[in-house]
């Protein structure tokens, strides 16, 4: 392969963004994905950040946080957290990217605490992830695919997916559409429109379905039309590398 796994994931994220959409971006891979989408097929997409920044083009220089000056300067609008969250809560945000330490088969995410060797490990908490998970038109989840991160049921729901399955979000009165896709380091999942369970829709080049099953804590559902994840096109890779020339985010 002439690309890294993370480059593949960035390109997969970029492909989820449609032109003209308003996107809650987040940092790292989705930030790069947003830049790639803007460069290629979604020039009119707008990125929103929790700190109050609204941008219609990528940051002026590589950044570690959304409040770094290159992400603020020459943005479309600088406002406050309540403003951008109001846009989210009023249905103006089409898409949000989130992640977590654990995900379960209904796409629920946990970033509060996990257990390692029988010992409780405290994680940082929600940040804005619960807000995006509940309220965005649809969510894309990006995860490292390891068995310990894919339990059948998360210990704590920080950012709700489909809860316990069909009808759960409606019962909780959640306004957003819920997770649409999970992009992992092994494959890409969608969700069954009835049961709301994660379904493997593609495996990355060089990865087997068996391998994915081994790294997943429940009996994997596989889409009838499962296929290999489409490799990045040359222009997609060029865009990724334009925004991460040193591979800070995309070296494996």
């Amino acid at each position: 392969m002439d690309y890294t796994l993370k480059e593949l994931m960035v390109v997969a994220a970029a492909r989820e963004i449609c032109d003209g959409e308003v996107v809650f971006v987040g940092m790292r891979l989705p930030l790069l994905g947003f830049a790639v989408a803007k460069e290629l097929h979604a020039p009119r997409a707008v990125g929103i950040f929790e700190n109050g920044v609204i941008r219609d083009w990528p940051a002026l220089a590589p950044i570690f946080t959304m409040s770094d000056p290159p992400n603020v300067s020459r943005s479309l609008s600088c406002c406050g957290l309540v403003d951008v969250m109001s846009l989210l809560q009023s249905g103006r945000v089409d898409l949000g990217f989130i992640g977590g330490a654990e995900i379960d088969r209904f796409g629920n995410l946990n970033t509060h605490w996990v257990e390692e060797n029988g010992r409780r490990v405290r994680l940082p908490g929600s940040g804005g992830a619960a807000d995006i998970a509940g309220l965005a038109g649809r969510c894309i989840i990006i995860m490292n695919h390891e068995r310990r991160r894919f339990p059948p049921k998360v210990r704590f729901i920080t950012s709700p997916g489909y809860g316990e399955g069909r009808g759960w979000r409606e019962g909780k009165h959640l306004k957003g559409g819920g997770p649409r896709r999970v992009i992992t380091s092994l494959g890409i999942f969608s969700f069954d429109s009835e049961s709301r369970e994660m379904i493997l829709s593609s495996f990355h080049p060089g990865v087997s379905i068996e391998q994915i099953q081994r790294e997943t804590g429940w009996r994997l559902k596989v889409a009838a039309e499962v296929s290999e994840t489409r490799s990045p096109l040359a222009e997609e890779l060029a865009a990724v590398r334009k925004y991460d020339p040193k591979g800070v985010w995309t070296n494996n």
Partner: protein
């Protein structure tokens, strides 16, 4: 009446056990200089309030200043987990810690409620999130539509410590760049302590009233503290010092490492000027922003 004072005087006005909002710009405008002075003044039993505070809360927790955290996220934004936060939560080191769990939106709404003089605000967020089972949230029903909503209890800090670009001696403050929940915190708190990059003439404030996001009558102390947000950025004045965060992450992994870090950067530095000396001129120069990117004038003519 000038409110200008030293950082020490401003921080000394905070009582042990107070609820303190700080780090309200999210990853920028974090009043680190004020946080270090809180540690030097050995404040105890504080409740710390902010959506995320990058490493500021982790520092204050490790130093033993905090009893409770009201936050959506505690860690190290660029590097990952907060080691002191973990030690406190998992082992009660240096002391046990209570957490009032929020999302970014719910803590913002809690502050907003207090700043509006309300005991709560309703929201649609956090429904279905396990942390919303806590007693600072309540399930409510819209009196018009019957829809299920979540009530977020007001969060009213005793004091908000805010770092801003410029303020006059009365505390009227100009801010720009991303605003996070700075304004909500200023309105929510009983009073505001400002640290600022520049103290400016009242005339500068009047020349652009749309940038005055904090009126002076909310402010009790104004501290002239250039680079007072280091290592966090302040738009137009200071870049983010990424290495500082990574170094902190590495050193704070062990309790001993953190103590050494604290000894060097907080106690050893002695005060904000000593801290800047310790950073060194070269490093400070590197953190200064590059080529000016100035806003165009707007006309307030009458």
């Amino acid at each position: 009446m000038s409110k200008i004072c030293t950082l020490r005087e401003a921080i000394s006005s905070i009582e042990d056990g107070a609820a303190v909002a700080m780090g309200c710009g999210l990853e920028s405008l974090i009043p680190f200089a004020a946080g270090y002075e809180i540690i030097r003044r050995k404040k105890r039993g504080l409740t710390l309030v902010a959506p995320i505070s990058d490493i500021q809360f982790d520092q204050l927790i490790g130093a033993g200043s905090a009893r409770k955290i009201v936050a959506a996220w505690v860690g190290n934004v660029a590097a990952g987990l907060g080691h002191n936060f973990r030690r406190a939560m998992e082992e009660g080191i240096p002391r046990p810690l209570e957490v009032e769990e929020h999302s970014n939106f719910t803590i913002a709404l809690g502050l907003k409620a207090a700043g509006m003089g309300l005991p709560y605000l309703p929201t649609r967020t956090a429904l279905g999130s396990d942390f919303s089972e806590a007693p600072h949230f309540r399930a409510i029903t819209c009196p018009f539509t019957g829809e299920r909503l979540l009530a977020v209890r007001a969060v009213a800090p005793d004091v908000a410590i805010l770092h801003v670009q410029r303020a006059d001696s009365e505390g009227n403050a100009h801010l720009w760049g991303n605003l996070g929940v700075v304004r909500e915190a200023a309105y929510a708190a009983k009073r505001v302590i400002l640290t600022c990059e520049e103290v400016v003439d009242h005339e500068v404030i009047l020349s652009d009233p749309n940038r005055t996001l904090i009126p002076g009558f909310l402010v009790s102390h104004v501290v002239d503290a250039p680079f007072g947000s280091h290592p966090s950025p302040t738009q137009g004045y200071a870049r983010r010092d990424d290495d500082f965060y990574f170094d902190y992450h590495r050193q704070s992994r062990s309790l001993e490492g953190f103590q050494e870090w604290l000894q060097k950067w907080v106690f050893g530095a002695g005060d904000h000027e000593g801290y800047l000396d310790l950073l060194g001129k070269e490093r400070r120069e590197k953190l200064k922003p590059g080529r000016e990117l100035c806003s165009p004038a707007v006309n307030f003519s009458v």
